[in-house]
Amino acid sequence: MIVGTLAAIFALALLAPTLHRVLGKATGYVLALGPAVGFVYYLTQMAATATGKSTSVAWTWTEALGVDFSLRVDSLSTLFALLVTGVGTAIVLYANSYLDGHPKRGRFFGYLLGFMGAMLGLVLADDLILLFIFWELTSITSYLLIGFDHEREKARKSALQALVVTGLGGLSMLAGMILLGQIAGTFSVSGIIEHHHVLTESPLTLAAMILILGGAFTKSAQFPFHFWLPNAMEAPSPVSAYLHSSTMVKAGVYLVARLNPAFMEDHVWQWALSCFGGATMLLGAYLATRQTYFKKVLAYTTVSSLGIMIMLIGLGAPQAAAAYILAHALFKGALFLVAGIVDHEAGVKDTEQMGGLFGKMPITAVVAIISGLSMAGLVPLLGFVAKELMLKGSLHAHGGPHDIAWLWPTISTIAGAFMGVAGLQAGVRPFFMARTAEGEYPKHPHEAPPPMLLGPVVLTGLTFVGGLFPALFANKLINGTTASIAGGHEVELVKLSSIYLATHPSMALLLSGVALVASVAIFVLRRPWRTITAPLDRLTTAIGCERIYHLLFGGTVGPVSLATVQTKVLQSGYLRVYVQITVMTALLLAGGLLLWQGGLTESVSQAMPRFGEIAWTELLFEAVLVAMICVAAVASTQMRGRLSTIAVLGVVGYCSAIIFVLFGAPDVAMTQFAVETLTVIIFVLVVYHLPRFAVYSTRLGKVMDASVGAAFGLLMAAFVVSSFAITADDGISWYYNHHALPSEAGEHAAYGRNLINIILVDFRALDTMGEITVLGLAAVGVYTLLKLRHEKPAQGGVA
């Protein structure tokens, strides 16, 4: 059944374009069934996994590498699988209306469901390599989805940026996973966690951990890689809601949570998670207050939220992390969908240009304000519960650097205040405040159709109900997931059912209040706030990796990128430059190796004494042949006439044929004679259709090319000489020799006396067939080139 949910979604992804052609408008309703069935299945699993049970299926995949196709459903996987399938169902329905009339809607569904399958596989995989494959698959499908609107350059560039950043991180992660597998002796995730004491003994564990974090941090947009996520907002809104808030960007968080039991006692792990997570949280939330575009506000708060989750895991507060993952998916998914609705129905992207939309789209407005306030952490919403747990967790940090324990509640409060500003900006500003912008809305704003509202309304409903009755989610989802993240370790669980029943004002509640007051203050004074903080922009853009990215791959910042330079140098479009670079590289690498290994002089002296063994007349004859080849070769480069060049080329061919005769290869010689004759004939036939030789190069250019050629010739000669020292194992020839004729009746043999012949037509007959195919193709090519006449397009004006 687990595999069934996965396979069904992938199958629907493949079928989506065809289905769209057949069903048209109804496609989304059919496709939504796939994730919906999966959602129901994982709901039924929820009760069992919460008690710590897990179901798994496994097949051996690549036995030699120890890689299995194994899936495992535990509480953490269930939480993510529910998000992937649940939010996924809503997104498919939403996108069906959002892209109504879009010619590429079928393709979009294909990409979207492909991503969904990959993401589901990622959270279910119990094998590191399998996890990596699904991980990369999400990167690729995300690339296709961000760049879906591929006719806009910005969409393409953002898609590429996301792919490059997450792809590089993925490579780092693969290296880390292989290392981890080597250390633990298994690629099985549950196996590694079970035997995590092995990890503490190996000095390579640190390297593996850092490499894996490289993957997790790029995927989850942690500082300093946070820049790609806001840029990815070029994607259509349903994609932003799905990939860039609820699912894909949480893959890094998932991986960290998944591997936490194996590493959680390591101080580097705690430090790295809490410091990078904390920095991301603070920076993301601050940048969110500086934005006014709906989706950008949400994007930066997402960066911040991802930082919070990573930080909480690092601080040893898994319950807070689990609650925050759930709360964030609900409110942020809804808000992104609202952003899409407002853009779709009113045609405005800037929140400051909006206002008074409550009257025009009341349901959307209610959804937005509830979700926005949940993001701000207001009672009685799920966001409040998550924020309480987060503040409690940062007050009683178990992991991370202890001597700066005061830091965590401080930055959490500041970030909470900034998040509140963003929540008000997104949830209140467009709907409940008067519109100050001049003119009418570009479109006539109205309520979205029901399929588009379904997702946001359900998500917001859960935010509301979950906030009122936190115990509803507590036992089955949050506490089970907490246990998964913490491994076998004991964690203090805050009783969620009594979170509102605090008998005395707790420190967390106080900080929460401070943050809320600060949010309202900053929101009211948002214009002066943005003016005051504007000078800081230089600093905030300077501390990320975005500049480095632009320097390497080109973009809006920086004049010339490394990519441009290397394309100009390596991809000049001049054939001879390509040849030069190839030859020079070969010279450097192969020549360097040859010099480094040495032993050339021995090879030469080994070949020397053979001179004495043969008659000098014979030797003289061979020397003359070789001299003729050399002279003819040089002459062919200097001849001015076309015919004479072809003639000297023939000399080279005939002389080498004679050499084949002398050294026991008459078959080759015969072929060479025939081919050489044919070549000369063909040349002569077309020679008068060929241009006369023109002199294009300068003298200096010729000298340069000649020295490159000479150096390469020297290298090849040295290769031949160095091969003399190698006594090859003649096992292959021995085999051919002994299987040419049957030594006893009934034995398999080639039945031929000419060894070369039987190699070609018997032992290696398939190769010969390939060779004949090449000949045939060349013949077809020659025929078409000679016969096919290309109609020249009529050129208007010029006769």
């Binding site: 070789v626 040089v634 060929l690 090849m716 000669a717 040295a718 060349a778």
Partner: protein, 115 residues
């Protein structure tokens, strides 16, 4: 003789590379031909030379014995000779056709599809 062949191989590669680096399309083909001759001789020489003993099993015997020339390099070369002939024939016609269509055999003038 092996040393002499090494020299010939060196000359063929050197002149071949030089010709490939020319801007003229026709010279490029001559370079290709020179390099394929060089490659054939390289395989031949590297496989070890045996004077005048072709790998033919005489009548009445079941296999070769004693010194005989290794049949494997010639078999490889035979394939290479035929394939390089096919490529050469194709490129010669390609040059002819290109020259007819474009009116030049300057490779630098053929960098783009725009005329």
């Amino acid at each position: 003789m092996e040393l002499l062949l090494a020299i010939a191989v060196g000359f063929l590669y050197a002149t071949g590379i030089y010709m490939i680096l020319r801007r003229s399309f026709v010279k490029l083909i001559i370079g290709l031909a020179l390099i394929s001759h060089g490659a054939n001789l390289l395989i031949f020489a590297a496989g070890g030379l045996t004077r005048g003993k072709p790998s033919l099993i005489p009548e009445g015997e079941e296999q070769l014995s004693g010194m005989y020339s290794d049949p494997l390099p010639p078999a490889l070369i035979l394939t290479a000779v035929v394939i390089s002939f096919a490529i050469l024939a194709f490129t010669i016609v390609l040059v002819k056709r290109t020259y007819q269509e474009v009116g030049t055999d300057d490779l630098d003038a053929m960098r783009t599809t725009d005329r």
